[in-house]
């Protein structure tokens, strides 16, 4: 009798639990609509939506480089398989043309498709859930007034059971907390504005916060540094490795221009982010800068002192600081260990020339790449260089894949780390170099075309000549 009671209770629990989960997991479809006419949207709202879309970097994932903006199809490699971004142009058949504003707002707030099925968190709704109704309305107005592009979504390449979308309800139960953003009462207006943008639309944590085995951002390690498409996203909390502590001003400049002389150059997936940030309203960019710098906390007096010493030792930088004569290409060989000789022969001619960024090489004592927790970024840049951006002022560096073999690259990077990094040698450097060269670890290098093709406000980012 007793056993039967227990069995019965267990069964009831399973049925109830399953039922509750099903009720939690199931969501209704929202009826399709006839695509709204462009004229039905207020131009001011569309314009605001364009700026918000730039803040959210929608174009970066929802565009194949060189392809139609927002038409989707970009492969997003994840540890679980490949997910393809979807078409968010207002095409009625293959895009979101038949989505009502309610369906769009629900996808942002709750990570649901119009038909009620769960979306993969590669679409960072754990951040977008914080976006206000008002901002979602503007984003909707902007997207629905783009040119419709017929481009069917590609099938995701995921193994069973991850290809079953109801599984995502379990993921959400564990890791997803629905918004919207609630201002912190003990912080000021700019901080709250920055937090709303950086934690919400900006989804900085999607790259800069490490992820757990199930692909969710680790709660206790906010901004502690993460991975993105073969690149290391630097820690932007108290563990920031910057040689000169970030300030709101330097962060603002970096976010808007894509480089800063005390830190280096945005590359990999950060390059299009900074290209987008150039288009957003100045006060929004400044709020994001203020908030992220606040997340790093007050640098210690010791760190501040070291930074000041470094800046003082650097000497003059700027146009004509050290004129580049025709014979300035060779730097005296320092001899000794091979890494030092390679640095002197191949790197120092630019990196010690004193020409200002973005065209001159950064003094590597300031480079985040040399100081960061992982060698990935430095390997990527030395191997592949920084390709020139089309039609705008941008940094450039030749790649050395063709001339440096693995041993030479390891020798060079070990030397740079020891000489400029102020940090212990990287573990597994040999392996990282081998993987990067063999293509086992692919590093993305996104052109900023898609950003230029969808500017929020082209007047803010013009060429200066």
């Amino acid at each position: 009798m007793r056993t039967r009671n227990i069995a019965f209770s267990l069964l009831a629990l399973v049925v109830l639990g399953g039922g509750a989960f099903a009720a939690y997991a199931w969501h209704p479809a929202i009826d399709p609509i006839d695509p709204p006419r462009r004229e039905s949207f207020d131009p001011a709202l569309v314009r605001r939506g364009a700026q918000l879309a730039a803040l959210g970097n929608c174009n970066v994932c929802h565009t194949v480089p060189g392809g139609q903006v927002f038409a989707g199809g970009l492969a997003l490699p994840t540890p679980f398989g490949t997910i393809y971004s979807t078409n968010i142009t207002p095409d009625p058949e293959t895009g979101i043309g038949r989505w009502s504003e309610a369906a769009f707002a629900r996808s942002m707030r709750a990570g649901l498709d119009r038909d009620g099925s769960h979306l993969y968190p590669a679409f960072p709704y754990n951040h977008f859930t914080l976006v206000s109704d008002e901002d979602n309305r503007a984003l909707y107005a902007y997207l629905m007034t783009r040119d419709p592009v017929r481009a069917p979504a590609r099938e995701n390449d995921l193994p069973f059971p991850l290809n079953q979308r109801f599984v995502l309800a379990g993921w959400k139960l564990l890791f997803f907390r629905e918004g919207p953003y609630r201002p912190a009462q003990d912080q000021g207006e700019e901080w709250n504005r920055g937090a709303y943008l950086a934690e919400g639309l900006g989804h900085c944590g999607a790259c800069h916060t490490p992820r757990n085995a199930l692909g969710a951002e680790k709660r206790g390690e906010h901004y502690a540094g993460g991975e993105a498409e073969g690149w290391h996203a630097y820690a932007i909390n108290a563990a920031s490795a910057a040689a000169v502590p970030w300030t709101t001003d330097s962060m603002f400049d970096y976010l808007r221009r894509g480089w800063h002389e005390h830190h280096g150059i945005a590359r990999g997936p950060m390059a299009p982010v900074t290209a987008n940030m150039a288009y957003v309203p100045e006060e929004d960019a400044r709020a994001v800068a203020a908030y992220t710098v606040a997340s790093m906390g007050q640098p210690s007096a010791e760190r501040q002192r070291r930074a000041e010493a470094l800046l003082a030792a650097r000497g003059p930088v700027g146009g004509g600081a050290r004129p580049a004569a025709s014979d300035s290409q060779t730097v005296p060989a320092s001899g000794g260990e091979p890494g030092a000789a390679i640095y002197a022969g191949a790197c120092a001619t630019c990196h010690e020339a004193g020409r200002p960024l973005p065209f001159g090489g950064i003094n590597l004592a300031f480079s985040s790449g040399v100081r960061g927790e992982s060698p990935e970024n430095l390997i990527n840049v030395v191997l592949n260089g920084l390709p020139a951006a089309e039609g705008e002022r941008a940094p450039i560096m030749p790649g050395f894949r063709g001339v440096l073999d693995d041993a030479q690259l390891v020798a060079l990077l070990s030397h740079l780390r020891a000489r400029f990094g102020e940090a212990p040698a990287w573990e597994g450097l040999d392996k990282a170099v081998r993987e990067a060269r063999s293509g086992d670890r692919l590093a993305s290098s996104r052109p900023t075309d898609s950003v230029q093709a969808a500017p929020a406000d082209p007047t803010q980012r013009g060429t200066t000549w």
Partner: protein, 165 residues
């Protein structure tokens, strides 16, 4: 003293290890095809091949090249007997001032050796690092396409093999 192999010939050059390959080619070996343009690896006029890959010789210290094979335009053929890449550039009259052309030929050679059937799109992407200030890009692209055709024909095969070796 640096040992290096250029166009299948072994050389010992009495140059410091940090000397750019470009200077060794021009000043020590008197191979004047590769040109000094910007000296910063940004214009491509100094492009040569190292083990079949296009590199900027102006930012490549020779100490890195021990045991590797360098190929310059002189290795693609001679004035009397031009190789397919050179023939194609002559036949398309792709040069205006000509300063960028050796670099263009070497970058194109690196692509076509790997993939003689490269598409126009691949050719354009691959050639992007090399600049031409005269603006003969349309002719340069035609020349590369013509070279691809020549390389695929039996007639041109021996010269290609020697360049690829």
């Amino acid at each position: 003293m640096v040992k290096l192999t250029v166009n299948d010939r072994q050389h010992e050059v009495d140059a410091p290890g940090d000397t750019p390959l470009l200077y060794v080619l021009r000043d020590y070996l008197e191979l004047h095809a590769a040109k000094y343009g910007c000296g910063l690896g940004q214009c491509g006029s100094c492009t040569v091949m190292v083990d079949g890959v296009a590199v900027f010789s102006c930012v490549t210290p020779v100490m890195l090249l021990e045991g590797k094979k360098v190929t310059t335009v002189e290795g693609l053929g001679t004035a009397e007997n031009p190789g397919p890449m050179q023939r194609a550039f002559i036949e398309e009259q792709a040069a205006q001032c000509g300063y960028c052309i050796p670099g263009m030929m070497m970058r194109a050679q690196a692509l076509l050796q790997r993939n003689p059937r490269a598409s126009d799109e691949e050719i354009r992407t691959h050639m992007q690092p090399n600049l031409c200030r005269c603006g003969t890009h349309a002719r340069i692209l035609r020349a590369v396409r013509r070279a691809a055709g020549l390389i695929q024909t039996a007639e041109a095969a021996p010269a290609v093999r020697s360049a690829a070796r």
